[in-house]
């Protein structure tokens, strides 16, 4: 795409013109491939919003650490000697080399291989080779690794690169009501396996749009799954075109419908203890709900039951996040998440069900990737990049009157209303 075209797209994003277009039901195709638009997203969204780094259960003991990214910024997430979770930029305070070059592990100190500056896992500089021969004591007396803002919610660890951003609590708002269905299902807490990491040739937005809004693709993209009976079906299952609520609530959106995840869940009694009465009402009773969704900007969640062995199903839940590397390059992290108080046998079956259906070899997820990389690739076309893509399904639908839960909901088997919510949220950041 010509530089002038990119500038135009960027200008339209900032001025509100693209928001107006999205609300009328179209997006410029090159929103998935433009370098300029991508740079704007990196600066205005990924340096301003709360971004998921991992889960507390990945670092259970003092000294445990994981290394994660927000776009190109590399961060160490560690549990210090007092048991507190800390997040540091992986950048030596001397000349900027990474002080940690592994993905995870356990250590009390990080030693920079360049000149040997050593930092405790509290971030404090504790060692400088030839200290007296190199610097004035004063100039290196109060140095520690830089920290972004960070906070946790129900085990999820987030960071925010903007010192002035709202708190995580304000950011999430009432979306926590729904987030708990995936990450807050036990009074004992949840634990993750993974992550699986891989690089895909697709724009980061496509996964978020897909998981919070697009049930329509299931009919065709995931047709093979019903052909081979991968998922557990209930006798009452109304089928793929059953109506669902497309819910929009503060920092997220999801699709909820009557399903068997909570109804048949082996840990029902304990899950009930973890939920508020209102949360429990939604997932129990005559029409128990379940579903999948996205937390903005880039976290996907899904809960379902997979036929893990002959005649045997297991409840599975994943968390998936996207690290944007370029407009057409994204690193994907996926974790399996399970109740800590579940019996070991159930945890194992749940993990195996996840691996069968989702993640890198999952029989559902593997069919999604080609779609996302293809949409990204056609967005690069000199002609097709300037075409529009549609997000106008059920454009003027009335809000559902029978949704007595946080946020708004729209009732339809298929709808693109949550895609429009996603872009309105996005443009709140891009226009700021």
């Amino acid at each position: 795409m010509a530089a002038s075209e990119q500038d135009k797209l960027r200008q339209q994003a900032s001025s509100g013109a693209l928001r107006e277009k999205a609300n009328e039901g179209t997006l410029p195709h090159n929103i998935f491939s433009s370098e300029a638009f991508f740079e704007l997203e990196k600066e205005k969204i990924f340096q301003k919003a709360w971004i998921l780094l991992g889960h507390e259960s990945e670092i259970p003991d003092p000294g445990d650490y994981i290394v994660r990214y927000i776009c190109d910024d590399n961060l160490i997430v560690t549990r210090d000697e007092s048991g507190e979770i800390r997040v540091f930029f992986n950048e030596c305070k001397h000349q900027g080399m990474k002080v940690c070059r592994t993905e995870m592990g356990n250590t009390s100190h990080f030693r920079c291989p360049y000149h040997g500056w050593t930092f405790a896992n509290s971030g404090d500089l504790t060692g400088v080779p030839f200290k007296h021969e190199t610097y004035d004591d004063e100039s290196i007396s109060d140095i520690s690794l830089d920290e972004p803002r960070y906070d946790t919610y129900n085990g999820l660890i987030f960071a925010n690169l903007d010192e002035d951003a709202e708190s995580l609590e304000e950011y999430l708002g009432d979306f926590t009501f729904y987030l708990d269905f995936f990450v807050g299902r036990s009074p004992e807490g949840m634990e993750v396996n993974g992550p699986q990491r891989r690089i895909i040739d697709a724009n980061w937005k496509l996964g978020s749009m897909n998981t919070m809004s697009d049930h329509y693709h299931s009919v065709t993209t995931h047709r093979s799954v019903s052909d081979i009976d991968l998922m557990e079906h209930d006798e009452e299952d109304a089928g793929i075109a059953a109506p669902r609520y497309h819910v929009q609530c503060d920092a997220g959106g999801l699709m909820m419908r009557e399903n068997n995840f909570f109804k048949n869940h082996e840990m029902r009694d304990s899950i009930k203890q973890a939920f508020s009465e209102k949360q429990w009402d939604l997932v129990s009773g005559d029409k128990p709900m379940g579903g999948n969704g996205s937390m903005l900007p880039n976290v996907n969640m899904l809960a379902a039951r997979v036929q893990v062995n002959e005649g045997e199903s297991a409840p599975i839940t994943y968390i998936r996040t996207y690290r944007p590397i370029g407009p057409d390059k994204t690193e994907v992290y996926t974790w399996h998440i399970v109740e800590k108080d579940a019996p070991e046998e159930l945890k194992e079956k749940s993990r195996q069900g996840y691996e069968m259906a989702f993640g890198i070899s999952g029989m559902i997820e593997q069919d999604d990737l080609g779609n996302w990389s293809s949409v990204t690739e056609t967005g690069k076309g000199g002609a097709t990049g300037n075409h529009d893509v549609r997000i106008d399904m059920h454009l003027n639908q009335e809000e559902a009157s029978d949704w007595d839960n946080p946020g708004k909901a729209y009732k339809a088997p298929f709808s693109e209303v949550n895609m429009r919510y996603f872009y309105n949220w996005l443009f709140d950041y891009l226009e700021a």
Binding site: R101, T102, E103, M104, G105, N106, N193, G194, P195, Q196, R197, R198, I199, I200, D201, A202, T220, T221, R223, S224, V225, D227, I228, L230, V308, N309, E310, E331, H336, R351, Q352, E355, M356, G359, I360, S361, M363, E365, Q366, D367, L369, G370, N371, S373
Partner: protein, 176 residues
Amino acid sequence: MQTEPISKPVDDVELFHRVRSFLTREAELIDARKFDDWKELMTEDLEYKIPVRATRGENTHEDDFLDMHHVEDTKYRLEKRINRLNTEYSWSEQPPSRTRHLISNVQVGNREAEDEYAVKSNLLLYVSEGDDPDHKLLSGRRHDVIREVNGSLKLARRIIHLDNTTLPLDRISVFI
């Protein structure tokens, strides 16, 4: 441990030849996409696992695996994957990937049980898709258990240790 190097490979030319032929035949069936025939080379209690590797510490190497797998199949799950590929809607393999399994450094160890052998091999898997001139390449070490069943060899267990932690693939839709 089942993934440790073989300390003393067997000195049995005939057995080595049978195992080598088995591995070649098996790889050829995958590359020829004769998955239903390939499946017949597996025992009913098959374990087929690709654990997720992580760069975990400064001094560790062989055992850096998470409690998570890229693939953790049984015969039932493998059959599901093959059944899926046999449907009209297995989009991730339409058009089909072209794969080339190069199997080398084969070592046959002592019997694991009365009728089983520990077999190690290296894998280089080349994957070409559509008209894309770029290829995907995966390398790894395979830790197999091969069993004598009524005079034929069958694969009872395979643990594949890929050399990547972050995979250079958007999906695993081929058999590794």
